[in-house]
Every structure is written in structure tokens, then in C-alpha cells.
Symmetry: C2
Subunit: 684 residues, 2 copies
Amino acid sequence: MSAVAEPVAAAAQQQMADALRFLAIDGVEAAKSGHPGMPLGMAEIAVALWDRHLKHNPHNPAWPDRDRFVLSNGHGSMLLYALLHLTGYDLPVDELKRFRQLHAKTPGHPEVGVTPGVETTTGPLGQGLANAVGMALAEALLAREFNRPGHAIVDHRTYVFVGDGCLMEGISHEAASLAGTLRLDKLVVLYDDNGISIDGHVVQWFADDTPARFAAYGWHVVRDVDGHDIDAVDDALNEAKKAGRPTLICCKTLIGKGSPSKAGTHDVHGAPLGAEEVAATRRALGWPHAPFEVPDDLRARWNARMRGEAAEAEWRRRFESYRQHYPNEAAEFERRMRGELPAQWRDAVRAMLRDTDSAAQTVATRKASQQTIAMLARVLPELLGGSADLTGSNLTDWKGAVDVRIEANGPSAELKGGNYIHYGVREFGMSAVMNGIALHRGYLPFGGTFLTFSDYARNALRMAALMKTRTVFVFTHDSVGLGEDGPTHQPVEHAASLRLIPGLDVWRPCDTVETAQAWASAVEREGPSCLLLSRQNVPFVSRSAQQIEAIARGGYVLRDWSLPSTAQRVVLIATGSEVTLALDAAAQLTDAGVAVRVVSMPSTTVFDREPAAWRDAVLPPGVPRVAVEAGVRAFWRQYVGLDGGVVGIDSFGESAPAAALFAHFNLTAQAVADEARRVVHVAR
Amino acid sequence: MSAVAEPVAAAAQQQMADALRFLAIDGVEAAKSGHPGMPLGMAEIAVALWDRHLKHNPHNPAWPDRDRFVLSNGHGSMLLYALLHLTGYDLPVDELKRFRQLHAKTPGHPEVGVTPGVETTTGPLGQGLANAVGMALAEALLAREFNRPGHAIVDHRTYVFVGDGCLMEGISHEAASLAGTLRLDKLVVLYDDNGISIDGHVVQWFADDTPARFAAYGWHVVRDVDGHDIDAVDDALNEAKKAGRPTLICCKTLIGKGSPSKAGTHDVHGAPLGAEEVAATRRALGWPHAPFEVPDDLRARWNARMRGEAAEAEWRRRFESYRQHYPNEAAEFERRMRGELPAQWRDAVRAMLRDTDSAAQTVATRKASQQTIAMLARVLPELLGGSADLTGSNLTDWKGAVDVRIEANGPSAELKGGNYIHYGVREFGMSAVMNGIALHRGYLPFGGTFLTFSDYARNALRMAALMKTRTVFVFTHDSVGLGEDGPTHQPVEHAASLRLIPGLDVWRPCDTVETAQAWASAVEREGPSCLLLSRQNVPFVSRSAQQIEAIARGGYVLRDWSLPSTAQRVVLIATGSEVTLALDAAAQLTDAGVAVRVVSMPSTTVFDREPAAWRDAVLPPGVPRVAVEAGVRAFWRQYVGLDGGVVGIDSFGESAPAAALFAHFNLTAQAVADEARRVVHVAR
């Protein structure tokens, strides 16, 4: 398509871009806060993609086969809000006027669940790109699982906007390398190459040959596209569709384009233009309209509702044909895209808990987790496992796991579907990719690494909690109990610090049965969960049926005093591998005439949400308490108070066999018993 | 040099490599734990580097002008221990026999400060490479600062071993991109390209064209080097010295080379070979010696003490000549390489605190920090600032800051020295680079980002704490008080979770004077500190001279009750921007007849190390307490107990102006006063 051949159309398209520009300018101006530079710089790119390529239905943002759009440079949120507003999503102009105000649908950075049409929450740079890789991967795997000859019910693309910031972040390497290796050919990234970041001209701190870098990842790269030439971007998008690989479209742009005195400078990145410059921009671009005003003809041109309805209707016809031929697959597809658990789920969990209890195995909880996964996989085909190159240590694979892999196919290569992803040594990338998979829907992703390396992924865990994605993070080697690898590998503060992330559930089960329940709770939850699992064996604990049921409440009474109520009393609280220390200490103390209750607390985050009646029943107010966990002690003060006791580790670990370490750090039943005697004595 | 021309020498060199192999095998075998694959695969590379290139003096691991060697693939620690042992460091064979045992000098992963000759602690993959970039950057900047024509007293290289794991990690992108941009020509990375990672053949999850990727960063790349050909590696190292850019040497290797049945498989990565395979390896390589035995002639060939002593002596002669010509510079260089503060330091701090107090400014603490930096820079030329592309927000620059930059110089480009680094949007890379700078010595690095994005850097903060590096992390925008950017940018759990990292000091000052003291404490500390700073203005608080002195203790009494001791009493504890809420609440409560003490707690980590007498004097036992901080509440239970009160935020933030948010989250003086009345009532 040539812009010269259709001057009228070209002018109209330019006006569409300017409509985006001024909504962004006006939104930022009204908020007196925000980022105009990116929307002004990417307006034409947005027109090319949203008006000519993006398959979506503003009337139904949940249409399963829509294209996904991710604004990885999320500070340009006003561009996305302008697009959603103009194409016909439920985002009235009043919401644009309330940009960045409390409870508006237009928060400072895009938030999934807040604004219809926003696919993921972005702002922390680079993660949107990784989310998009997850979405593209979910699409590719779903297509291989559900499509049938002549029935391509899963067939959509994932488009991403990225800026220099995203591409400087390390996670861009992890995500792009994985996407290239897996040949995610429906992933298209549009790079806003404006040469400016907050500190100024990037050449002084970011001199990469980015096209060459992405080519090295096996991507198709479209170089030197004029990002202000809608037709050129359109051509590049057409080229991407034929590339057979993920595509990076490098768009040369001018940050803040349109602003006469601020374009091309970092001043325009993150602050309002100011009334004077706004007026100058209106004059320069010939935009006579009042703030937030877009002429009706331009609104009509932007509106994508009819087109979207038609596109979805066409897909629904095809889906009904699929349903006729493959009724079971169609029902299963719909269930999974709704994120519903299968009908037999509860029965399966009950059976699993019963069988696990009967087996009474003494194994590491990472091993218990592996056995649980195998049982769950029988009823949950949506389980999509993986590990950041620690499969044999995390025990995240199972019989029936099929590696997602690339198969050479002549000169080309082909992605083979499966349910297990070797993420490589990419903890942060893995976690953000899993978030993207969960957001796409269709799979329930889980992935493993060592607990210490949750640090590498931490902001993705936070984003999962903020977005409430159903993502399961399997963290094994959960204490100094991992032994010889030493302090770099031994978590000490991690269990506590993960529990501080709002909305993140953290489980540290003590044996096979608690591990099974932790998994069941994680699967059922509308939000992320971390499973902290031991490398070393932990003894099986016998429980009553009520106790097994109580595990799901996060904390419960595992053993209770049998001594007369006149005895001195103490409650021992423990998690994971330290529950056995508490039980051993209880035996000592009981022999010495102290009445002891042992509370197993596999999940403080779950326990904290229980009603006060349950919490007080488990931890009777006034009875002295001692907590034991192989981690920092301060965390436990909220349960034991200033007068209680905590047995833990406040320093880094050491390199030595596990048994030597538990002795060295005084993590013993004797230490727990001593601490219990101390607090009982103080309380007397 | 041709191996064919000198068959005897070649055989001897091969034996040197095999000596490394068997010490590694025997160490792992004795420990029944460890990673033989990498030492066996990199033995020849180690010979080429350590025997033919590395400038070091085993007798003095602290020689300032030694080459730095970093084992970024730290799981191969036995290779490094074997090298240190054989070249003559204070690491007797008994320590090798105690590999991975409690308190041995040979922990599972190399730890700086534990083993002489270990330059940085590695294990968490990719960070060693980033540390090395920091070391090379420190060298380059020191050379530009101290060298004079004819007097190159700073002139050494930084060598790094990396594996596939390091190169998959995102931080490798951040570090390599920065190193390429800054043309760190004395950085040489040797890549152990064995095609195997823990999960198996990497091609299924890591199909990068790594040489092309590094070329895209502006590196010189030596491709297709046979990593088992010592001469070929030697040639590549010679080539690197002339490259004028950082160099990546891609060595094709066989993991576990020498092990007849395990070489080339992932089984050899992280587990002992087993007695049978060890014997087979001895036979295959013709190594008849007993475990840990190395023939004397081979020991003599490896020993680098004489060569090292001579090299250092030669440097010392040159340094003495430098001293004659530039006595002040020589003294300053020695001071800085010792990590000592200047003689006028204490006076300068006293003057700074006095001036800051007199100025009585109401500014944001990030602004107070900037003013402090400017004052400190006058007496601390070693200050080396920077930001992860948020200079104007973090306010990490100052008048007198000179950007480290690249200047075009004909077809080539040249690094210009300075004291401010634009790290780009690379929080993790920045932090690990700063750790490397601190380990190198000569500079005191600090760098800024938003507090939320401390998540991205978290494991580097942990490593700083483990290594006790003097690194200062400046984290601004420290609460919902940052306003409209919303929950992705608003820290809630971060202050608390950073305080849980053992050995990391965390400061959250409430005004200009506390900010100045926080900086002074961070500079004086032998270990890392985080400064959590507000975006918004905070009122100046007047203090007595004793109170100003008490800030350094982390927590102190800011206002004390003037009401009779018979009154109901309460202690309010606050940090940072919430101190003003506590003061306002105190006014309300005092008016209502409650005796109130306000404790400012800028650093809980420092306060916790104070003697109990101080802590009890500040927080008198038995008096009810209320803590207020714009963050998760659970953390504060360790100070207020179960019966105390906490005013905070347990959910994610929102996008809105700061004032609206403080009201929305009920972070008000009224809320603090209400909570105080509640706990006073309960305690009655």
C-alpha cells in the first residue's frame, strides 16, 4: 500500500494518530502527571497495528481467540487507554479525564482486571515482553493440543510494544532467547527506537546493535522502519506474519513527536507538556479540538466494534463446527479458557489425600510434590510444568510429562507441543512467562527453581500477586538443610520475605500429606502460590481425618497436650522440616511435665485469612508460644509476641552436610525444648 | 606457539591440566558432593590462563595491581581451589580434603573473605560476570584518575570463566551490554561452551548464537576455540589483549572431559563420579597418583610464588617512582585501596550534621540525600555515583559529578573517566557491578533506582551482605507517597523484606538530618546499606545535640512525655515520612492527657545491634507501643508485640495523588492517635 496513492486516506490515518496523541496529552495534562513522550512517539505505530492488524472485539475482551496486545513500556498507558476508548471498549471519556485518580479505570500504569482490554499489568520494565512470550507460548501449545485438521480454533497473535528500557532489562534477554529457541512465530514485537531514555541519549549507556542481538536469538528482524510512516509499519507487520519466527520490528521514532519544543528530548518522557506547549502542539499539528474532544467522523473511523463483532461471530461459527466434530475437545477447551476446574476435581483431591495418607511415606517434600503432580496431572490436563534448568533437583517433572521441544524439519524447525517446559537458567523470565501463560488462560503453569533464586524472580512473583494470576512457583532446597552448596544457595530470609508480598500464598509443608494439600490449595486459588519444599527427607506425620481437612486452613493443631490443665502449658509452632523438631521437643517436654501443643503452620498467609475464632482456637491467647523455622526469627514475633520464643537462623548459612548445619545453627529438638522451658518459666 | 614443536612441554602442560582434574575429582569424591563436570571441562583453559597470562602473587592476594579472576560458574569451585593450592596460595591440601565441610576454606561455592585468592563470591549464576564488569570498570576509572604519563600504576586485567548458565541469565545481558558500551578493553571472558546444562543438551532451551550476541554488544569475539587445546586458548588470550574492547573467547569443551563414561553428559555436572568411574578416569588419563597427590615436579611447575613475587616487586619499584613524582596521589591511592576513610572524615561529618541541622530544610529525603552527597563528595573523592536511568528522580547526581562517558575518537572510541555512571535500565546489573567495584577497591560505589525495583536487584543485595561489600543502594520513591504511578511502582513490603536480609543495613530517614547521618553511617560501614528515601517533602524536625548523635544508633527518642508519670503512657514508633504522623498524633494525645513518647527508628537493623540497655531505654518494657510505617504491618510486631498497634498498609497501593492515598489507606495522624488510644485502653 502506498501512502502517495491515497492522500485522503493517508490524511485520515494521520488524524487517527493525532487523536491518540491529544487524548494522551490531555489525559496527562488533566492528571498533572504521566508520560506523554511514548504515546506521541508511538501513535502511528499504534494506528498501523490497531487499525490494520489487531484482531479483537471491543465488545468482548474475553474472546478466547483475540490477538493479545501488551504494552511492555507501560508508562505509555495513556496510549493504550486512548486506543481502548476509541476502538469501543467500555472505557468512556470520563475515565480518561480521571487518568491516575483514585479508583479510575485509568491507573498510572495499565492494570489487568481494572481496565477492559488490558491483557497484563505493566510498568516494571521488560516483564510485559516476558508475559507476551508466555501468551504466545500458550497459544502455540493450545493450538497443537486442540486444533484439528481444518479446525484452527486457536489461531491468534501476540503483539508487544517495547521501549529502550525493556530492552536494557535482563529479562528481555531471557524472554527473547526462549522465544527464539521455541520459534514462537506468532509473537511480534514493535520496538520504539527513539534513542532516548530518562537519563538522556541512550548511546552513552546502551550501544547495542539491537537488531543483530535479536537475530542472534533466531528472531526475524525488520530493521530501520520509519515509525511515523503508518504504511511502513503496516508492511513490516505483514512481513512478520510470514516470518516463521518471532519478529522484532525496529521502528525509528521521535519521542514526543508533535511537541514543537520538547520532541526528541528526555524532558517529554515523564512529565506533562504544560499548557503553553500543549497549545503549541495543537497549533503545530492542526488539532483545533478542545481537550478530550475527538470529531465524530474520526471516532467512527476508529470504532472497531462492528469489525470485532464480525470477527468473533465468524470464529464462533467455526467453533460450533469444531464442537460438532469434537464435542469433548470443545467442552474441554471452553472449561480451560474459563479457568474452571474439572467436575471430578474435589473427588480427585479427596482420593489423593487419602492415598497419600495411607502410603505414609517418609520422603523429601520435593519428592512428595513430584508424586502429587503426577496424581494431579491425571485430572488436570492443563498442568504445564517446567523448571529453570533444575528439573532433576526440583522434581517438577512426572511420568506423563512431555517436553515442549523443537524438532528439526528440513532446513526449518518446528515446535512440538507438550506439557513440560525447559525454561533454561532464567528464573525471572520463567516466572514472568508463567504469568503470561496464566493470563492467556488455557493452562495452569508451574515452574521450579531453588528457593534462594526466588530473589531473581521476585518482582514477577509480586506481579503475579498484583494480577491474581493462577501461577504456582515451586521452590525447592528450602533451607540450610540443602547442605554443602553453602550460603549462596541456602535461603534464610526467603520464606519470611515471600510471605510479606500481599496476596501471595506461601506454603511450607512438613510431609507428604501437607504437600498434597498445598498443591490442591494452590490449584484452587485465584492467585499465585509458592511451594517451599525440602531437599532432605522429612518424616511422615500421622493425622486424623479432621486434621487432614484442617491443613487447608494454613495452621492447625497437630498434637495436643494430654496432661492435666493445671500443668504448665506451651504451644510450639513449626513449619516444614522443623515440624519434626517440634514433635521431638514436645515428647521431651511432656516427659518433663509440661503440657505441649504442636501447631503445624504450613501456610501463615492462609492461616492469617482464617476467622479469629479459628486462629484463637489453634493459638489460644495467653498460652506462651515458641516458633521454630530454619529462617530469620523476626518474622515469627507476630505469632509468638515479645515474650514468646523463636528458634531460627538470623545469619547466612554455611557450607557443610545438612546434619552438621542443623547442629551448628542449634536447630534441634533440644533447642526448641530449652526455649519452651524458658518461655514457660518467664510466663509463670 | 605450536604444540607440535614442543612435545615435551605440551605433555607437561597436559599434566598440569590433569593435576587440576584429579584434585577436583578427589575433592568432590571426598565430600561426596560437588560439581566435577566443569573443572574437568575447563582444565586446559585454566592452564592457559593461569600459567601463561594471569598476573598475580600468591603470596599477596591483596596486591592492588593483580589481575582479577572471577569464576562466574562458581559451582566449579574445586577448579579454583586446585589452582590456588597449586600456584601457592595459603590453601594447603588438607583444606582441599575438607571440601564442603564446616569451617573449611573450601566451601561449596567460592566465597571472598574465606579463601585467599577468591575475588568474589559466586554461585548465583551470571552475577560473577557482572562483578567482573565492575572490577574492570574500577580498573579503567582508577587508571584514568591515578596514572600519569610514564607511570601506569593501575594496569591489570579482569578474567572471567562463564558457563551456559551465566549466559542464559538476564544479568549477563545487562552486564555485557554495559561493558560493551563502555569499551572495557581489559575484560576477558572465557566461555565454557559445552552444550550441556543441568536439564541436558541446551540446544532445546538456549539456541542463541552467543558469539553474534556479544558482537552486537560491541565485544570482540574469538570464535570456535578448542577449549582443550592450551595453545589455542593462549592464542585467543593474546588476541584479546590487542582487541581494544571487551573480549569473549568461545571455547568448545567437553563437560567432564577425561571421565570415560560420563564426559559429555549432564550426569557429570553436579554429582561425584563414584569410585569406579574415578578409577576408570585415572586409567584413561594415565594418572597413577593417589587421591590429592601431585608429583613434586608438577607442583614445582605450577608454583607461581616466585614469578608473582617478582611481578609485584617490579610494580612496587614503579610505584615508588610514582610516589617520588606524585606523593599526594600515591598516598591517596594507597588510602583508597586500603578502603580507609580520609583523616578529615569525622570532622566533615560533624560539620555536615551541624550545617544540615542549621539549614532546617523541609525537602524530600531524596533531595536531602542529594545535598548530602554533594557535601560528602568534597571529602570523599572515591564516591562513584550512578543510577539505573533514574538520575533526575533518584537525585543521585550532584554538582561536581562527572559522567563516565564514551568519546568518539576517529573510527574508535575512548572511555573518559569520571565519578558518575549512567547504568541504564539495569537494576540487577548495576547492583552486581557496584559489588564488583567495591570488591576491586578504590571507589565507594552507590547507585539509585525506585525502591520497588530493589526486587529486580534483590539477590545482588543479598550477595553484598554476604560479602560485606561497602555498597550503598539508594532507593527513592519509598512508599505509596510516590502517588500516581500506582501499585506497580509503590513499595509496600520492600522496607520490611530488605530488613530481613542478614547483614544488610536499611535506613529510612525522616528528614534532612537523619538522611545525612544515614549516609555517614553507610560510608563508615564495612558492609552494604540501603537508603530508603521519599519522593515527597517531609518536614524538618528539630533535635538536641544528643538526639543528633543518637541517630547513628538507629532508633532514639525524638519527643518525650511531659505529662506526670501517673498519666496513661504510650510509645509511638515511626520511620521516614510517617514520623510526622507520629508527632502530630502525639500532639493530639497529649492534649487528651495521654503521655506520649515518639521514637524515630530510621534503621531497625542498626537499632537491633545496640545493647539491650539502649533498646530498653528507648522502648521501655511494659509501656504499650504503636508503630506507624507506610508498609506491611506484620514486620512491626517484633517491636510492638501482640498487644501493640501498627498503622500500615497490608495491600497493594493505588494510582492516585499522594495525599489522596494517605487518606485512602488511613495513614493519618488521626489513625495513629486512635490506635494509640486503643492500645492504651487494652493495656489499662
